[in-house]
């Protein structure tokens, strides 16, 4: 503001929100210029969790880079794994067997539920409803227990493999998962009543952070952020991967593109996920969970390495050189991760390591839209907006 002589000087107050702040979901930093309670300018700063995953991936074999993807969007690591494996499979031109596809579909939907539950909890906590957070976490703990049953890990699972999945599912797991899909929609309905009928919640979310359909497409938003604005774009439906073309589900759409619509979209998606999991269990075919090409891509089991010479050589080659049959080409492969479109762009040059590994992370794009949402809103809305874009900084900064 230019200095005015003889009058009071007016200047915006600049406050720095984050990286250590309870509502920034990790290490996002916002620089807010505020005039009273109104935000005049909002500048997001990211990169506080930049770990160099892309560079690291270029220096590792295709097999060894898989665990790195767990730590991108650590809330839904299963979906990242699936996306990575799918991209490598497409690059190498192989395909997972039918049973593995169903298992992957099931597992990535479980990841979606766990991710959306965490979003619900933290979003509600930011707005001030603290009990929803604990209820959502209680439900999430159930999913994590199921993950543990399936893979042996809670959070960073590294379960899918290039050309299939690591191990077959047990009957016990399937029956507990089935029970979960039975009870989950009922529970979620109960928790929803805590906030959905609440006038304060409606006031805090309706007509807050509106993105029109044109804006959403122009900014490159994907996932519930795009569907909340009413654009019908879901990779699971229109570019099906794994077993999504064999199951039946709806894609929930919003109308106004405000925080409330996105909230409704995600809540509905959780119910659809439960529906998909149910169908997967019902339709799960028999057969192997690894492709017959597996020896070229997957480490043999430990017992065989100790006894079998061939297996040991195979193990050795895979670890040192990576899959040696890599073609000379490039691929962009994307999946519908819980946050939005998670894309992998590989450039291969015939060696066992990717020449360039690029991650198209939805959170990065979604975080860039924050100034659009926040400018002109109140300070309290900034918090609601950070919650609604549902970012994970691990994926945003890579």
């Amino acid at each position: 503001m230019p200095e005015q002589k003889g009058k009071l000087r007016k200047k915006e107050l600049t406050i720095n929100m984050g990286p250590q702040h309870p509502a920034t979901h990790g290490v996002l930093r916002l620089e807010l210029d505020i005039d009273g309670e109104t935000v005049v300018k909002c500048t997001p700063h990211v990169g506080y969790l930049h770990r160099g995953t892309e560079k690291l991936g270029e220096n590792r074999t295709y097999l060894a880079a898989l665990p790195l993807t767990d730590r991108l969007d650590y809330i839904s690591s299963m979906a990242n794994n699936v996306g990575y494996c799918l991209a490598v499979e497409r690059l190498f031109g192989i395909e997972a067997p039918e049973r593995a596809k169903f298992i992957r579909t099931m597992a990535s939907e479980m990841a979606r539920i766990s991710s959306h539950l965490l979003w619900l909890g933290t979003h509600a906590l930011d707005i001030g409803a603290m009990t929803v957070f604990l209820y959502a976490f209680k439900e999430r703990e159930w999913i994590l227990d199921l993950f543990e049953m399936l893979t042996g890990a809670r959070l960073t699972v590294t379960y899918p493999r290039i050309g299939g999945v690591r191990n077959d599912v047990s009957e016990e797991f399937l029956s507990s998962l089935y029970k979960f899909t039975d009870e989950f929609p009922k529970n979620i309905e109960e928790y929803e009543t805590l906030i959905d009928q609440n006038r304060i919640w409606l006031q805090r979310t309706k007509n807050i952070g509106i993105i029109t359909a044109e804006e959403a497409v122009n900014w490159g938003l994907t996932g519930p952020m795009l569907r909340g604005s009413g654009v019908d774009y879901d990779l699971r439906k229109y570019c099906p991967y794994d077993a999504y073309d064999k199951v039946d589900f709806d894609v929930p759409l919003g109308k106004n593109g405000d925080t409330y619509d996105r909230y409704r979209c995600r809540m509905e998606e959780m119910r659809q996920s439960a529906r998909i999991i149910r169908q997967c269990i019902e339709k799960l075919p028999e057969g192997p969970v690894m492709t017959p090409d597996a020896p070229k891509f997957t480490l043999p089991p430990k017992e065989r390495i100790l006894k079998d010479m061939e297996a040991m050589i195979q193990h050795f080659v895979l670890v040192i050189k990576g899959p040696v049959t890599a073609p000379d080409g490039e691929i962009y492969s994307a999946i519908e991760a819980p946050k939005g479109e998670l894309g992998f762009y590989f450039i291969s040059n015939g060696t066992g390591k990717p020449y360039r590994m690029r991650l198209r992370s939805p959170s990065f794009i979604h975080a860039s839209v924050l100034p659009l949402l926040c400018e002109g809103a109140l300070v309290a809305d900034v918090i609601a907006n950070i919650g609604t874009i549902d970012i994970v900084l691990g994926e945003c900064d890579r």
Partner: protein, 178 residues
């Protein structure tokens, strides 16, 4: 219009710009020169027959020693209407490491372009706010270049801010209660 036809369309419209059209795994990539990249992208965006309205991704690649032109900026465009994906690869030489920004066509290109500048050092002309995004603003070097070291110990190239923190920590340690 599917991506193959779209690629041909570009060759038709910009014959001297398009270097090559490649296909791998049923994905089409068009390798173009960088000079008229903005026109090409605008054409793809605004032509109602092509209507590539979603910029899925923008990234840079370092082909150090593999190709004549060292860098490439890769655009992944998607048409929501025709559901087709097209990859545009614009070649950027090392000596004049710059390309036109497409932020005024795709608002979503803002951060990816900043990231590309940050990690590879490609300058985007006409970008409204070209600063480093992932690394601190006074970081030296562009890490995603092939000649940049990977490991944590950067030796003399270490970021000053981090060294300052270690220095400060050593100083403050004296005041700690044991």
């Amino acid at each position: 219009m599917n991506s193959k036809e779209a690629a041909e369309k570009i060759r038709e419209m910009f014959p001297e710009e398009v270097r090559e059209i490649r296909e791998y795994n049923s994905q089409t990539s068009v390798i173009v020169k960088r000079d008229r990249i903005k026109d090409i992208i605008r054409y793809l965006h605004s032509d109602p027959l092509l209507n590539f309205d979603l910029l899925k991704d923008l990234c840079g690649v370092d082909y150090s020693g593999k190709k004549e032109t060292r860098f490439e900026v890769v655009y992944h465009l998607y048409s929501l209407e025709y559901r087709s994906l097209l990859r545009i690869r614009a070649e950027v030489p090392e000596d004049d490491c710059s390309i036109d920004s497409v932020v005024d066509i795709f608002a979503g290109a803002n951060w990816p372009e900043r990231e590309c500048y940050d990690l590879l050092g490609v300058v985007f002309k006409g970008h409204p706010d070209l600063r480093r995004i992932l690394l601190p603003e006074d970081w030296e070097g562009h890490p995603l270049r092939k000649d940049y070291p990977l490991q944590s110990d950067l030796g003399e190239k270490e970021w000053k801010g981090y060294l300052d923190v270690i220095e400060l920590a050593k100083k403050n340690m004296e005041f700690e209660t044991k």
